[in-house]
């Protein structure tokens, strides 16, 4: 089937394998007139590049993007934007073992079950490199959001057992932490923890938090295409994500209505707003004008440098020892992927929301 196309009005189609010719995305539905050049996209892609810290794979890749269509004289034309990153630096490694064995925690077995065989080189389509297409499209979506005064900011909330202290956290510090943790003290501790796990040939997961500011109230569709439901799909579709929550999320399930309800208040300076934001900016699937807040749980990298028990294609029980270059943690590099999927989803919902009232449609067309 066709699971690599996403979106209704702002639609993206991603393609590419880890060790194929390249990775790319076609964006269909980007409005005309948006300023866009390769640097805008490259800046986003650079944030997910490997080899930037000791906590990511030493695989050095430029991941240089080219715009193949949809931009003319520095502006989008309204027709599909094709973005591509050609692969370099694929080691022609020895894939004998991985070709025949099912790595625990990986999609090897499930791909074989689904498709009958798989491109086993570097994980093929299930490689983390698949997210290049998402991030390239996310850069374009973010440029659209910027025109509407909306900002999306994600960061690492926790790594293994170490969580940031919101008192100490300053979003401006995110880029100063090699782990994208805005609480630099927690970041230090997390580095130590991570270093210990690496020495132990182990890997670590964590939680990414994302905040959207400037979102107008009234965006989202009230039943199946709720704003939170659409965000949940977008985030959960990122490899390694095992959970997603909005606002107080799972904590809300433990408290009472009196504690969880956000009272409304009005004053002439700030207008109508809520005095708290347990809901995370969404009520009944529709944005309420407060910041949108969500969190995603990232599992520890399944590739660990320890012997593991598994089965091969001949149904023999074997021991596998994974070689090669692997991130001991994907959380910091996934931060920009979360931002991208959120941005793409918000643009789609903002576009869909333009037809909610006949009066506004009439105004639009009677200009």
């Amino acid at each position: 089937m066709s699971g690599s196309v996403y979106g209704t009005m702002f639609k993206i189609a991603t393609w590419g394998e880890s060790h194929g010719a390249g990775i790319g995305v076609v964006i269909d539905g980007c409005p005309a007139g948006l300023l866009l050049d390769e640097q805008v996209v490259q800046d986003f892609l650079n944030r997910r590049k490997p080899g930037q810290t000791m906590y990511s794979s030493p695989r050095k890749e430029d991941d240089k993007v080219s715009i193949l269509s949809g931009v003319f004289e520095g502006r989008t034309t309204g027709t599909p934007i094709s973005l591509v990153v050609f692969n370099e630096n694929q080691r022609s490694g020895d894939y004998t073992q991985i070709a025949s064995c099912y790595r625990p925690g990986h999609a090897d077995y499930t791909f074989d079950q689904k498709y009958g065989f798989r491109d086993y080189r570097g994980g093929g389509r299930s490689s983390a490199r698949e997210t290049i297409g998402r991030v390239a499209a996310g850069a374009v979506a973010s440029a659209i959001l910027r025109e509407l005064g909306i900002k999306v900011h994600a960061y690492t909330k926790s790594i293994g057992p170490i969580t940031i202290d919101s008192q100490n956290a300053d979003i401006a510090n995110t880029s100063l932490s090699p782990l994208s943790m805005p609480d630099l003290e927690a970041s230090k501790k997390a580095e130590e923890y991570l270093f210990d796990q690496m020495k132990d040939h182990n890997s670590v997961g964590g939680v990414i938090e994302c905040i959207v500011t400037g979102m107008p109230a009234g965006i989202g569709e009230p039943v199946f295409d709720k704003l939170d439901a659409s965000l949940a799909k977008a985030i959960m579709s990122i490899g390694a994500i095992k959970g997603i929550e909005i606002g107080d999320g799972f904590h809300a399930a433990t408290v009472t209505g009196a504690d969880n309800n956000d009272p409304f208040i009005y004053d002439t300076d700030l207008g109508l707003r809520k005095t708290s934001n347990h809901a995370g900016g969404i009520l009944g699937g529709i944005s309420d004008g407060a910041d949108i807040i969500l969190r995603a749980a990232v599992k520890p990298t399944p590739s660990i440098f320890r012997p593991q028990n598994t089965v091969n294609k001949d149904n023999e029980n074997v021991e596998i020892r994974i070689q090669g270059r692997h991130d001991p943690i994907v959380v910091p590099r996934a931060v920009v992927v979360v931002e991208s999927m959120v941005a793409i989803t918000l643009v789609d919902q903002l576009f869909m929301g333009m037809t909610s009232q006949i009066g506004r449609i009439r105004d639009f067309y009677s200009r």
Copy 2:
């Protein structure tokens, strides 16, 4: 926009408001030849009916379903199935207050922002009665799954701070608990907790867990339409759900790869399987043959019988006192809604998965 249609190959369109003529669903894409009568659907709907325990709204409704199309001589014809529950027992209450005020935790304000006005009677389209359409469709989806040997079972995992003990839990007991908790001891404690909160004019949330057995390996699309991503959207689209996790979910973010990976093993009796199931039955977005496990966080009912601060349509700060019939907890009644959305999503993905291999397509058409 069009947010009340869900699914690709098994598609449902729901409609209806709390105090309108009725609530219904049109199912497009149900295969021909399935045994179906009104009782099959009614059995599902009866599980979400209010007024069955002291912990749900005393509103007594039969919620009797009629099949208006798509069934002939006891079998589905392959054409759209239209199911309807006509509303009865709508009290023609006094809606003056709710018509002009924004209830905290409700969608009143966001509907007004989106649509310019709203049907304020009983919550209109954002009423919990909206789920009737989902559950009616879920009954049909479950009948399809049964043909394929797949079962979906959900239950209450926790209510407020009280969680079932998996040692004490027996799924067979779920229907014996008025709160749908399969650990009857925990259920008792939860009843006491809930009773206290009700006396205090307060409300309570909880967590629903859902387990799918018999799911074949190889189902799910590897990028945006991952099986877990699709389930996340389906579940998060249910009103009051604030979080969703698969397998170990948020807990996985705190452990190491060595602890989280599920080893594969093969023996001639059981075939290839995993010796643990931290992944919750899904790897790389595709089912791995193990049970699918997910949990959903339900927020406490926002309608509480205490005075609350809010704002009215004239931007005046006012105190609201909600009247009427409201569930102090929606978790037990939402159990069958979760089952339904899971069943609908699985059918859709099973149908999409039929075209994964050219050889199987050729076999299908060369019969």
Copy 3:
């Protein structure tokens, strides 16, 4: 699969069989604030009712519509509009023959091939009554177009060999002709021709022409969702339609570029326009501001009161004699169906067209 849902932003889901409980449609994506009551829909439905002239089936049906959701205090709420016409007057006829035989020109054989069996009563889902859902939705779409100053008008262009003379045709006369032919002289001749064929137990087809006025330039998507492509699907999806053309259509294939090109001209009174309209108001899949003109070929009714050779379910060659009430021509009753499908498609494309330019989106949201 799911072939009874149509549209992207303005979405309709139709359901119902000729001899089931009723026929209906759910409209998802109608903007809030539109004035709507049952009379608006009934007026459209009355135009397709049988039994109004001697040239349509004597089956007398009121086809009275009910609005079950989506309207509050006389205005649409933005949530799904459920419309239903309950069936009356289904004769409990003898279906023995039709149940086992494949009527030539009908969908009996193909339904059996697709679904394994069929609801044979009155054609089931392939009955012309299926169009009730389309026309009900078309009434709502037309109400939206009216708000935008756009009008859709269809009429009978030809019946069998008799074609209207555009010199004699006056659109205002359409409703004066029992055959919906705006050239009343041609209408007379067509009546005679039709009467002769009826006496001969035969049936007749024809051509419907549709003109859209007031369509703004710039609507339509340039590649697969071209305005003309979308209209072609919409029209061809009506039962009995065998061809569709835009502007000069098939005639354009016989002339030269010099004759077929429409020159542009500008004058201060009328602005930019074309001095001819061979293109039928669409260039490159996008409306050019001229009237949109299209024609649809309707085949003769396959139900004729003559013995015909066919095959039954046991693969025996048999002679079938169709009984019952059947229109000797469906063209006049299909006129409003064509209008409806055109209106639905235009609304969908107008809604999709709102996101073509970033500047206009920014204006929309910075109100």
Copy 4:
């Protein structure tokens, strides 16, 4: 909006402009295991290349295709197939005139109305080069159809006033005619006619006919996604197509039911079939097992080498003289485009049709 993505289960996303970096397509939903290499696609693309006869643009382009993803060891992997043709030989011509003027019969004016500006070089996205993406995808779709024993064959039926005589036509001769006319005598006459029009600085249109053999009965969805409706959209979405008809098409509108109905017959050798095929292989939107027959009307090329009246962006009435390299007729080169769009649509409908019967789904999954 997003009009460059097509299909439900077999989905294609095309991109690219005439004078940009290249043209391409992403295919999402191609099953795994299909033999595919670049030559299979190249063979299709070569059929639409310009510069092959004196009747097509002298622009010489290799249009060499590369497969960037989705194929591993000679077989499709089930993940997206990215195909690209990089542009060469774009003359850096003088676009001053075309940049500011609206060419009659072209999409210049409508693009400007829709998007506010346009990539005017060589027609940008509305260039005939846009069809490269369709044809590349068509090659893959045709490879799938071949596995199922289905063949699609299109040819030129008429050019201007010259039509093939079905008595003289032999499909095997299609490739012998420079105009893809299977009646070589008519082809000669058409060449003479075309030559005269070229001398006269004029252009010519024509009709393409397409025949599908080997199509199983029972494919197509009975309401909006009828097989003929889907084909109509697919064909009409090709630039320059102004009409589409199935079977007897517009002719059917002029005859009686007795003449238009196709009787069924059964004999033990050939099974159940029809003794005629006025319906063109489709009844009630579903294939009936007979050959599918359709025709498309192609308008004459709008680019003619004569002075024409038009308007420029400053609303001045001007005379335009189109320069450069233009086909005097696009019909022969469009033949493979029609085949491609038909093949893509058939694959999509065949895939959707796999879920029509619960019994066949159960068999599929109980293997």
